[in-house]
Subunit: 256 residues, 2 copies
DNA sequence: GGGGGCTATG
DNA sequence: CATAGCCCCC
């Protein structure tokens, strides 16, 4: 089984990229974040013939998640079940008896903002979600844009960006707390490399060329799944150049 | 001498079309309307190597006119000289001793609006402009988007659109009053045909395919110029399909 | 329906 | 820098 994750930054602007990429890579599961479209406007017809089932939950302009699968998508749940009411940032479903938890973690805006506290709380709520819905010995994949670079290998210029909402002690502690519930980072399972990024800020000049990026997207696996994982890699898709996105695809392959 | 007119509906969006078209058709003069760009943002560099001189006057979002010529552009004047202050809708200049008056006549929005009265007044002011600046026995070409269909041959469905701002008695009277100062419609000099349109409303479904258009663009000539006119024709440029515009090119050829 | 412009967001 | 969404206009 091959699973993948991609922050689309508007799924309507990436229909071509996603369709081409699914046709080429043929992953079994694709988690999409930042669809930026309310459900009534989701491009259902565009994805009608691609050979994938899909579920989605979104709003106008911000957030929004989707899950594509070549196999039946079962027991779908949307969002966190704790207070306050969640934004459309999460889909939980089972594919071939593997739990897929696709999350778009809040970015946090700035360290002194309410949104940053919301981010830290969101990780806590997610931790409680895993505690109440799953056991670490089950087959669970937590995937998506987790909006944290966990160490200096995951950011371009660690010293200068230290303290920003996606690379600071509080965010690292918050995500680590969830990881410690029972996850392992599949990319790090196979590589100690730095510079393997999945996000490049549009506002950074020539960021892609200079590889001034961030590793913010993850495939996290419980022990049972980690044991089956054969590889996990970034696909810096060349077609992104046509209509460049700010994120790229991350994939992981598991034995059946 | 070949002259041409084209409502660009944003000259920045039609740079490719205009450059290609100039290179192919090689008119001596091209009048452009609806450039939709203020002078500081006019794409001067894009047109730098095309072999044409050009002058322009525009504003941010609406209106704007430009004049391209293979021969020197002399005695340039912008706009009407009567009150109230004119929008950037007109360039007068001489090319090879022929006066070229490039106008983008106000569309008029709706028959009950102030903009419609502004349109009717604009024709009156233009009439006075011709009276005070020229004599009907001079070589004058009044060209551009005149925003009036003068009879039933000039609109797709005359009975249903009668009464709209571009095809109603008041607009026809207003433009006729200017024509009667001393102009002749070069297209009608050579053809009684209907259905030879220069504009197709984007909002009309499959308007181009169904030829549900309007003839709103004209080359009007004084007697001295009319005597030299050999032909006047619409160029429904095939390349428009790439990034379709809502107007097309109208050309006229004159003996030297 | 397709231009531009403006604003907010990341 | 590149999204969305809203506005105005034709």
């Amino acid at each position: 089984m091959i699973v993948a994750t991609f922050n689309a930054n508007s799924i309507r602007s990436r229909i071509g990229i996603i369709l081409d990429w699914l046709a080429e890579q043929k992953p079994d599961v694709l988690c999409v974040q930042e669809t930026k479209v309310q459900d009534v406007d989701f491009p259902v017809e565009a994805f009608g013939d691609c050979g994938y089932e899909f579920v989605f939950r979104g709003q106008k302009k911000y957030n929004g998640v989707a899950l594509f699968s070549r196999y039946p998508i079962e027991d779908v749940e949307f969002g966190l079940d704790s207070e306050p009411a969640d934004e459309p940032r999460m889909i939980t479903a089972f594919v071939n008896d593997v739990a897929i938890v696709n999350t778009y973690v809040p970015q946090g805006t700035s360290p002194d903002s309410e949104r940053f506290q919301y981010k830290l709380d969101w990780f806590k709520r997610l931790h409680r979600y895993f505690e109440s819905h799953f056991s670490p010995d089950e087959a669970v994949l937590w995937m998506g844009d987790l909006n944290v670079a966990m160490d200096e290998r995951d950011v371009h210029n660690a010293k200068t960006v230290w303290g920003s909402v996606c690379y600071c002690q509080e965010s690292i502690d918050a995500i680590s707390d969830v990881v410690e519930w029972g996850f392992e980072d599949m990319f790090r399972k196979f590589s100690d490399e730095g510079g393997q990024y999945t996000f490049w800020d549009y506002r950074v000049r020539n960021g892609v060329e200079r590889n001034a990026g961030w590793r913010l997207d993850y495939v996290m696996a419980t022990a049972a799944m980690s044991a089956k994982c054969r590889r996990c890699w970034v696909d810096k898709e060349p077609r992104m150049k046509e209509r460049p996105s700010d994120h790229t695809f991350l994939l992981a392959e598991f034995d059946d």
